[in-house]
């Protein structure tokens, strides 16, 4: 994501969040997105322009005919999710390591006390 503020403000709008959530299930035409979000075609077109500007969404298909164009999520911003999960894994790995050290220290103490 090249511009965090732009991305966050793009997603601050409930209609645009709805579009992003819908596109997770697959590409859609602008008309389908407008119908699902219960908004007018011109309004949806404005929302899509904002989402494309942030790089969250891209258009594919016949560029000079808006009706045939499909919109889809770009992969790159969501690669960040994988990186986040790698960090989650590292977090739990560190916690389990600390757990192991504590558990084994404690059982050694108990064995000595016996």
């Amino acid at each position: 994501m090249k511009d965090l503020d732009a991305t966050l403000s793009a997603l601050a709008d409930p209609t645009r969040r709805h579009v992003v959530d819908l596109l997770r299930t697959g590409p859609r035409r602008a008309g389908e997105l407008a119908a699902s979000a219960e908004t007018s075609a011109p309004a949806m077109s404005r929302h899509l322009r904002v989402l494309r500007a942030t790089g969250l969404v891209e258009a594919a298909g016949v560029d000079d005919d808006a009706r045939l164009r499909v919109y889809r999520l770009r992969r790159e911003p969501f690669v960040a999710l994988q990186a986040w999960l790698d960090q989650v894994e590292a977090f739990w790995g560190e916690q389990l390591g600390a757990f192991k050290a504590h558990a084994e220290r404690r059982s050694t103490r108990k064995a000595r006390a016996r």
Partner: protein
């Protein structure tokens, strides 16, 4: 993005499964690492604990006497020596992931397997909202996400 739905990590520990479960739950305050992302409120946190049994809270304790604190999650299964299942709150919006800790007997002790899953059910907008919360100074797990995004943004 099915590959992003769960995170699994494990460790082998030289104590039996019943002891491992006991140490994991009763003594969490003694082993839990105090990193920058471990706390909801680092200034108020005095400890961390599980309230034993199904329905009990996994809590960041702010006040030992009143029991006031922040709920990391809630216990859904409490099977001493075997398994612990927790709801794990991602942020205050009520979006929940799930943490399962299994205690599997091995020849020399126990393999503790921790799986944190349900990430795919988290809408991207929630992840982004989490980043915004982090910027307001409310880090939980999403702190990492924010750091990564900020690094990328530079």
């Amino acid at each position: 993005m099915s590959s992003t739905d769960s995170v699994t990590t494990s460790v082998e520990v030289a104590v039996d499964p019943v002891t491992a479960f006991e140490v994991f739950t009763e003594e969490i305050d003694a082993w839990y690492q105090r990193g920058p992302h471990s706390w909801k409120n680092p200034e108020r946190a005095v400890g961390v604990r599980f309230e034993p049994g199904v329905g009990g809270r996994w809590i960041e304790v702010w006040d030992e006497e009143t029991g006031e604190g922040y709920d990391f999650g809630r216990i859904k299964a409490w099977e001493p020596g075997k398994r612990l299942l927790l709801d794990y709150l991602i942020h205050d919006g009520g979006h929940v992931t799930e943490v399962e800790v299994r205690f599997e007997p091995t020849e020399d002790g126990t393999r503790v397997v921790l799986e944190h899953r349900g990430w795919d059910a988290l809408p991207p907008a929630v992840a982004a909202a989490g980043v915004a919360n982090v910027q307001k100074g409310e880090p939980v797990l999403l702190g990492w996400f924010a750091e990564y995004i900020e690094k990328e943004a530079r």
